[in-house]
Symmetry: C2
Subunit: 195 residues, 2 copies
């Protein structure tokens, strides 16, 4: 059955085009026709690689989610005092967000209209919950302040980190990924005010 013409597209390059289109038009507003035009290949060539746009969405958000969950498996996220593990996770979240910018942007815009979107939202909630647990453990140790409720603090810290997708552009002169990660860690853990 593999009579389809070989083209220069690999699943990875097709995915990268699809993510760009999803981020520009919104997932709901993107048709296979839009993807075909953006990729410069026929719809049937796309169907040679994937079953449809929902599979592309699933692959794209999986890439972002796998990047985020992998952080939790890194040694500094597993070993040591919770506050140090939390600091590692916050730094790496910023780095992954910047390294996988279009994929994380798409993940953060998922709204829950399809099965795949609901699954992605569920995994995001699971990740948020794991980070909130780390914050709770650090508070129990007395290493982080006890006067900001854990769920609220988690939401505000995620808010700061996730907002980076709104303005960070890799091709524009400005702060590098590690510089932004450093700034976030400093603000989140020590705040603006000079001691």
């Amino acid at each position: 059955m593999t009579t389809a013409r070989r083209d220069t597209y690999t699943p990875e390059t097709l995915l990268s085009v699809a993510v760009q289109v999803f981020n520009e038009r919104g997932y709901d507003g993107t048709s296979m026709e839009h993807l075909s035009r953006a990729a410069g290949i026929s719809k049937s060539s796309i169907y040679h690689h994937v079953s449809g746009k929902e599979e592309l969405l699933r692959r794209a958000v999986s890439r972002a989610l796998d990047g985020l969950f992998a952080i939790l498996e890194e040694e500094p996220a597993r070993v040591g005092r919770p506050v140090g593990r939390l600091e590692h996770v916050v730094r790496r979240m910023v780095e992954v967000l910047i390294a996988e910018l279009p994929y994380v942007t798409l993940l953060l815009r998922v709204r829950g209209n399809t099965e795949t979107e609901r699954w992605a939202l569920e995994r995001r909630r699971d990740f948020d919950h794991r980070v909130a647990e780390l914050l709770k453990a650090a508070a129990a140790d007395g290493d982080v302040r006890g006067d900001v409720e854990v769920r609220l603090a988690t939401r505000l810290v995620f808010g700061m980190i996730n907002s980076i997708v709104e303005w960070y552009r890799p091709d524009v002169r400005g702060a590098s990924g590690p510089e932004v990660a450093d700034a976030v860690v400093r603000l989140v853990f020590a705040g603006l005010r000079r001691a």
Copy 2:
């Protein structure tokens, strides 16, 4: 010329319905027909109050912008050391965001496709710039850390504050406006880590 039937709609109630529809459907995706259905009044009744949907957008984002700019005129934002003025502005930004939640939500989603949207973006940039200047003055005093670049710090702090529109719901049991404002001030100025 005032032969139009009096109805119970005032410009304020119409505005509040319009903002809700804009936030649900997006400004671009909202027609006068959608507004007429949501308000339960005819299009001609709407035209009795306003010239069209762009006027409603302008009034709505003006309400958010006026609320934000009014903060800068408050005495604690004008008098004293810049770091204290900045703290007041950050606290009040959260309070205004929560008090005017649908209006600020709409403002933050403005994309720049129309004259009114470009004007709103320009005023937002102007406000951001005023806050960044305060942060710069506080850094020059040595009151805030010098190792995070002012523009980057401003973006991250605004990111944390603006993210509140994504999850804050006034009718759900949870933190109140002043509690959220307290949490933001603590995190932004002193950070998570216990000294």
